[in-house]
Symmetry: C2
Subunit: 222 residues, 2 copies
Amino acid sequence: MGKQRQVASDAGLSKQRVVVEAVRLADREGVDGLSMRRLAGALGAGAMSLYHYVASKEELLDAMIDVVFEEIELPPEETDWQSAMRRRAVSARQVLARHPWAIGLMESRTTPGPANLRHHEAVTACLRRAGFSVLMATHANWLLDSCVYGYALQEATLPFDTADDFADMAEDAYLPQLPPDQFPYLNESAAALVAAGYDPAEEFMFGLDLVLAALEPLRASA
Amino acid sequence: MGKQRQVASDAGLSKQRVVVEAVRLADREGVDGLSMRRLAGALGAGAMSLYHYVASKEELLDAMIDVVFEEIELPPEETDWQSAMRRRAVSARQVLARHPWAIGLMESRTTPGPANLRHHEAVTACLRRAGFSVLMATHANWLLDSCVYGYALQEATLPFDTADDFADMAEDAYLPQLPPDQFPYLNESAAALVAAGYDPAEEFMFGLDLVLAALEPLRASA
DNA sequence: ATAGTACAGCGTACGACGTACAGCGTACGA
DNA sequence: TCGTACGCTGTACGTCGTACGCTGTACTAT
């Protein structure tokens, strides 16, 4: 027995490698498919070996969330505040769409990781430099994050991804469940949206732009 | 052996009773504390008895989400659209604060239950009657729901509940982790907000009112 | 060269989980 | 009186997180 070459890797383990592989596994199979044994298997290691790098599965999940935050673009400093906020919000939404499990995990983990904190600092900095007061910057922060999380959550619960999927879904599975006399407005909406080639992916930009525009006059230096 | 009086109830089981008790248990102990065995115990029954009323735990979770939707107030019909939407949004936020586990569950369950559909229909009806076009009503729906879910999620991840908790938390646990040279803006915010007796519970109303005001001019009949 | 120590990784075991399956006692129609 | 259907349950299986104690290797001090 003894140390031997791993099948899935060219080197020993590390917290970094463990967490990154965990994110990949969760992306592929969902959080429910992520077990310490399966993760260890993917790393070519024994289950208990992981506990040399992570104190518990809880800590692993915390670290995974922080990896997700690391992927989100920080607001660029060289543009106006609206463009900067739009960029980082769009990036955040993309990242959350790539890792849908993350949104469901956040509810239960209450201690922000370093990447999360760095992110928060950068966003606050951008807002303050744009002329928002401390209190107003806090408001804006909450509101913008609510948009990101809210839309991400709603998109995650949608049973379809693209405009075409939506059309198929609506006609095949959704509408037949909705008797028109009980749900006249939902029927009206579904019919009209399918006819217009509606794409739910555009919803986010509508909300984000509306919020950004509404925040603009609340800057002290506006 | 045979049928005998249950300890926790005065009658036999039913899907209703099972699901309601599951919600109670989740409220008390969190989703992770909700197991079929413990739920059965709380109902004074054997674990496998539950499967006569729910096909699987997945179905139980779906049903629990729908119970949550049932608790949310529908928009009243006799007022202007803004008041109606504000009422139901506030109600939704309260309900989600009462059942924090619900927000984390939604990500994974993609089929809306009857209460969810009824709710959606009522909100859409309110918006359409207020003069929003089909497309604009859809936009408004997404945006308002994003607010509700987004704020609910952020509040759930906060490690404190009240303004006093916030002050204690910030000074004892949060700030010491944030070196002022790395996180100048977060330090500034925390200090200023603690001094002002900041209460995060007020955030939601700020975002909601801002969004409602920004939607107002988008009505066709405005 | 030798002994000692630290460390990365693993095998086994335990209690709890979701649930398939094969019962059980009771109530009721014939 | 008997059958049969129904509400309910105990047992068992595979999987989960993880406590514990053991390996073999690498490095340090002598």
